[in-house]
Symmetry: C2
Subunit: 217 residues, 2 copies
């Protein structure tokens, strides 16, 4: 049964079409601005009909945002695959610091111009930012599930913890990306990014109880 699991022509063409549309879209959006480019123009640049474009990307925003979809369950996976003697928060902290060191775009600390411009566009275009929030929500749910199942945490605590962690993570990422968009280089930003991340995770770990206390000795 020499079954080669090669995708077959149909599948390959689909992938190429998907990529062609996505690339044409990003290229046009970065050049002229998201709102200034219509889906009709993207379709034309990708040499595809408007109707076909919508078969691949359910909405205009997805032309940009689908690229971020991979990270949807990343936090959950980190929690699930951690060593037995590591708390979820420690695992996530280590993972984020590693992402910073690797200049992973998901940390906001990658200064390749195309990526910087992409992030800036996402944050500054409200409809794109809104779509990102829905990914955030999915990531939250996945993380809450991981906390419930691998850390023996009750439903409410899992949800509350997940929403806190995701929100903080997102804050750190945006902060880094915006600084790079402002002209800083990734290497310049790196030390500050690390110390900010450490401080933020410390707040997550130890709580906000002492904040604004009258005698913060």
């Amino acid at each position: 049964m020499g079954v080669t699991n090669e995708p077959g022509l149909r599948e390959r063409k689909k992938q190429r079409t998907h990529a062609a549309i996505s690339e044409a879209a990003i290229e046009l959006f970065l050049r002229h601005g998201y709102d200034q480019v219509s889906v009709a123009q993207v379709a034309e640049a990708a040499e595809v009909s408007r109707r076909t474009l919508f078969a691949y990307f359910p909405a205009k925003e997805d032309l940009v945002v689908q690229r971020f979809a991979d990270h949807e369950t990343e936090s959950a996976r980190v929690v699930e695959s951690r060593a037995a003697d590591v708390t979820p928060l420690e695992a996530l902290r280590a993972h984020y610091l590693d992402a910073l060191a690797r200049r992973d775009p998901a940390s906001g600390l990658n200064d390749i111009p195309a990526i910087v411009a992409l992030y800036r566009m996402v944050f500054e275009t409200s409809s794109l930012a809104a779509r990102m929030h829905r990914f955030q929500a999915a990531a939250e749910q996945a993380l809450a599930g991981a906390l419930r199942e691998t850390a023996g945490v009750d439903e409410l605590s899992a949800r509350v913890a997940a929403v806190q962690i995701q929100a903080v993570h997102w804050t750190l990422t945006i902060d880094n990306a915006m600084r790079l968009a402002g002209g800083e280089s990734a290497d310049e930003r790196y030390p500050g990014a690390v110390s900010d991340a450490e401080r933020a995770y410390a707040l997550l770990a130890n709580g906000l109880g002492h904040l604004g206390a009258p005698d913060p000795r």
Copy 2:
């Protein structure tokens, strides 16, 4: 100069038109569903032209969501106006518990049918939920500002704390509202809502550091 600060006819008419549009919109949306009603129908019901409607409400979502705008700076105000010996988190906790006791709709614990239906609609309609998120962002910024200025907290900590607090608050509110939408009464839910709120605020105050620790003695 017997200046009565009465609004004047023009202003009064504006307010009445605003209210008429808003009421017509909510009424139609609750009866037929948000997506099933077009802005043209709302305009007709309010006896206004479509163009005028958009002069009062910049987008269809605002017909619903503007009603929540009051609470945008509520958390910030609570932090700013707290007593000197109270930490921000304590003040917010007390304020939320009070809102629960008062069955304030902002706590999600008001079971007046129209309010329950409204909340359900907002959570289940993704474009409305997205618009709510933008209010959340504004609330976050206001809260971060209040923490910076009245609690002597540095920029990063303020932003991180604000995003955590808002996210948790929102989680609690949604949870209550969804349970009421599921048929529970506010009085039935109240004890659970209180204990959930207390546990969530305890997590905020003391941190997530112990979550999932190997030996949770």
